[in-house]
């Protein structure tokens, strides 16, 4: 009976030490040496920054009228097709409380429409 209690206590302490180990690992990972965002890629940007990125591409496209160049720039944001990040940006711009102007929205919509009907030449890298 006494021997069984000791064994039971040892198991309890064993699992407590495991829990302490996990806690120590998490403390190290989250407090002592926390994650630092460095060397990230544009596809991981927060949605509002992605939308601003798309807006920059749309502004540039307005002046350059170069869809291939716009697609190359948009490829940095990921997505299956170049118009995917543009559609997401438009959705964000229309549903967020940030006051996107109609001019900015129109630029992005124009870019989205042109991209939907765009057929890339083979040398243009696709995302």
């Amino acid at each position: 009976m006494y021997c069984g209690t000791i064994t039971y206590m040892r198991w309890i302490l064993f699992f407590i030490s495991i829990a302490l180990g996990i806690a120590a690992g998490l403390y190290f990972g989250w407090v002592v040496s926390p994650v630092e965002y460095v060397d990230t890629t544009p596809d991981s940007l927060r949605v509002d920054y992605k939308a601003d990125f798309v807006l920059m591409v749309a502004e540039t496209y307005q002046a350059e009228k170069d869809l291939a160049q716009a697609a190359r720039r948009l490829a940095l944001l990921g997505g299956n097709t170049p118009d995917t990040p543009v559609s997401e940006a438009i959705q964000f711009a229309t549903t967020s409380r940030l006051p996107y102007s109609e001019v900015d929205l129109a630029l992005m919509r124009t870019l989205a429409q042109d991209l939907q009907s765009w057929e890339p030449s083979p040398e243009v890298p696709q995302p």
Partner: protein, 297 residues
């Protein structure tokens, strides 16, 4: 017989726990980079982001919007970083249009800071601002912050240690106008008007100081300068040190090296430029600089 067992099992359990924690953190549920800020981008992506800001600036002519976007990159001195990138891009053998856009934005920022007005391209009207642009960055901290309180951006709010975004302001609204692509100094070629030895003891290194002026004696920024010497060549542009004049550029010489200067690939080479010593009133000798003034005919 009584078995004597120590407390090593506790250490064993602790090690197992740490191992489980690491396996969970690295394999089962590794860190996913989401909702990051432009300031955390890899250096080459930051360069591309800066290029995009510059070409967007050439399209919308909104310096305020460009400044806010540059601030999002978190550079210690955005103007300086931009100028350095512009110099590097413009010095490339076949600079892309983005390089000129970078140079143009660098000049515009410098001019704005020194109280002047940015150069206009093709007489484009100034855009109308209706609000201030997106979020800016505060000093980095190790605070874990929620996203802004007024916006529901994503249910998966991920770690944001290391970088602290401030509450975001509305994104800029501007009226855009099509503009022509920036090209440096179109028009007539330049010719050397004056070359002069400048004796200024304050300079640590002898310089080739170049000034480009148009026919109306106004400084001309964005002119490509090519300096060649035995086994070497350097290319740079006027206007990237606007505090010294929009048509100014300089190059540090090495004593006893002979240089040739020309403006652009088609320019007439001015050869035989080498550091020359000057005499101070006290009799000591120091290196003087050459000032070359080019005028567009």
């Amino acid at each position: 017989m009584k078995e004597r067992r120590g407390h090593w099992y506790l250490l064993t359990g602790f090690i197992i726990g740490v191992t489980l924690g690491i396996v969970y953190a690295w394999k089962i549920n590794p860190v996913k980079y989401e909702n990051t800020l432009p300031a955390s981008l890899r250096a080459d992506f930051k360069d591309q982001y800066r290029e995009l800001i510059a070409v967007a600036y050439t399209a919308n002519k909104s310096l305020e919007r460009a400044k806010v976007r540059l601030a999002q990159l978190g550079d210690p001195d955005p103007k300086q970083t931009l100028a350095i990138q512009a110099q590097h891009s413009l010095a490339a053998k076949n600079p892309r249009p983005e390089a000129y856009a970078l140079g143009q934005l660098a000049i515009a920022l410098s001019q704005a800071e020194s109280g002047g007005s940015p150069p206009s391209q093709g007489g484009s009207p100034v855009p109308k601002h209706t609000s201030l642009p997106a979020s800016t960055l505060a000093n980095p901290t190790l605070t874990v912050l929620p996203l802004r309180s007024t916006e529901t951006l994503s249910p998966a709010v991920t770690l944001t240690q290391g970088i602290k975004p401030t509450a975001s302001a509305p994104i800029l609204s501007v009226t855009l106008f099509p503009t022509q692509t920036y090209t440096p100094t179109p028009g007539s070629p330049f010719s050397l008007e004056n070359i002069q030895l400048v004796c200024e003891q304050i300079r640590a290194q002898p310089l080739i100081m170049i000034q480009t002026l148009d026919a109306a004696d106004q400084p001309v920024p964005g002119v490509e300068i090519i300096v060649t010497w035995e086994n070497g060549e350097d290319r740079f542009y006027t206007g990237l040190k606007p505090e010294l004049g929009l048509g100014y550029a300089d190059f540090a010489m090495t004593p006893s090296v002979v240089y040739t200067v020309r403006l652009g690939d088609e320019g007439i080479p001015e050869s035989g430029i080498t550091p020359k010593e000057c005499d101070s009133p006290s009799g000591t000798r120091y290196w003087g600089s050459w000032r070359l003034v080019f005028i567009q005919k």
